[in-house]
Subunit: 243 residues, 2 copies
């Protein structure tokens, strides 16, 4: 058999249980203090950073595998995952960092170890509530943390490109994605929702147009007013309609 000792997970990993050659990478997007965040793993003692990812079990759907990866890293279930691209460039095959990571974890991988192969990677993005998620490192990493999308550390392989493409995809789907539903608190002001849009799209949005569009979309419901404590009219609170 082809097993590694991974005491940090308390069990051995049987790499033969996964499909070879194909991996999954997840861009988990959060939002806090007017900034977009992405979950990033830091590998032990190497200064290497990368997206959370995983592999597909031999009797597991691709989409289910992605759900599993997300659940492992955030503790959340039932999050909508969006497959946006599959990355298969040759220049993403660079086993040296992974070999170093494994050595730092006390492993002595053979040259043809599962993790040192070339992988094609199908990438998903997911909108994750910053408050509810609990970043959890995997057995090769010592941290899984939120990073500001504009202040990412240098990432391994093509993971910077993957995040960029995820962001483009999110921007394209922003109106369908119900971004406010996941990224904001249950109730929010129009200003907060607009700021979220502006942050994602990285451009200013006209105030009254946005207001009209959101109200007319029929997906928002007024649920009260918010006291800002400031010297001006207090804004309404909205939430997504539940149909």
């Amino acid at each position: 058999m082809n097993k590694d000792q991974h005491t940090s997970e308390g069990k051995e990993v049987d790499w033969t249980g996964f499909l070879p050659g194909i991996a999954i990478d997840c861009v988990m997007v959060g939002y806090n203090e007017k900034q977009l965040k992405v979950l990033i793993l830091e590998y032990k003692e190497t200064g290497f950073f990368a997206l959370p990812g995983g592999f597909i079990r031999r009797n597991e759907n691709l989409d289910v595998a992605a759900q599993r990866v997300l659940q492992k890293r955030t503790g959340l279930e039932g999050i909508q995952l969006n497959q946006f691209h599959t990355f298969g460039s040759l220049n993403r095959y660079a086993p040296e960092p992974m070999r170093k990571i494994m050595k730092k974890n006390g492993l002595q991988p053979a040259e043809d170890h599962f993790l040192l192969q070339r992988f094609v990677s199908t990438a998903y993005y997911a909108l994750v509530n910053f408050e509810q998620a609990e970043p959890i490192a995997d057995f090769l990493s010592d941290s899984c943390r939120w990073y500001d999308i504009n202040q990412l550390p240098k990432l391994l392989w093509d993971h910077r490109d993957i995040i960029q493409k995820a962001l483009e995809s999110l921007r394209k789907n922003i109106d369908d994605a119900a971004v406010g539903l996941t990224l904001l608190d249950e109730e929010y002001t129009m200003r907060e929702l607009r700021t979220l849009y502006e942050t994602i799209l990285d451009k200013e949005i006209n105030r009254s147009s946005f207001h009209r569009k959101m109200v007319n979309s029929g997906r928002l419901e007024r649920v009260g007013k918010k006291s800002t404590g400031k010297a001006h009219r207090s804004p309404y609170l909205y939430k997504f309609v539940s149909n």
Copy 2:
């Protein structure tokens, strides 16, 4: 080594030269006589039909592999390929048809033969000129033919779903895809272009709105008139502007 005899291609196939577990499927879309066409392979003596596909060489980019598949089946180079989804459902793993296909080709595949594994498949669609393409079967097939997208034979695995998703993707991108550029002759009337759009979108399009939109897009150029021989005003001919 792990080689099969394939005299129809005049050489052996060394399956170890490909990445395992991941395949490519191509939806090549053509247009003829007001109907959308798709290139479909028929496997020898089995009555099995499937999309043209292939695998990724160990030192080959994913996108390049897709180009190679397309080139092999159509003889065309430089066609734009659009990756639209990666299919990884478990229910697409059904090796029995492939085993039968191989046996009909005089092969006696081992249980764990490369082609009998589970594959995740990254799918591309491409717009292909019906006149210029020369459908070419591969070594396991005895034909590669255009089929009307509304009269497809029963396809193996999930290939019907793949075509459906390709069509949805094409519809979403129809305005960017410059469909007329590839699917029509170099010069065409507004009526022909509109009929193409209507065929792809499967709905009627308002005549004058379409006319306006296309003219205002700045991507069309009037290049003359066409004699229809009919008793009415003759339409202008257009072509895509070359910038």
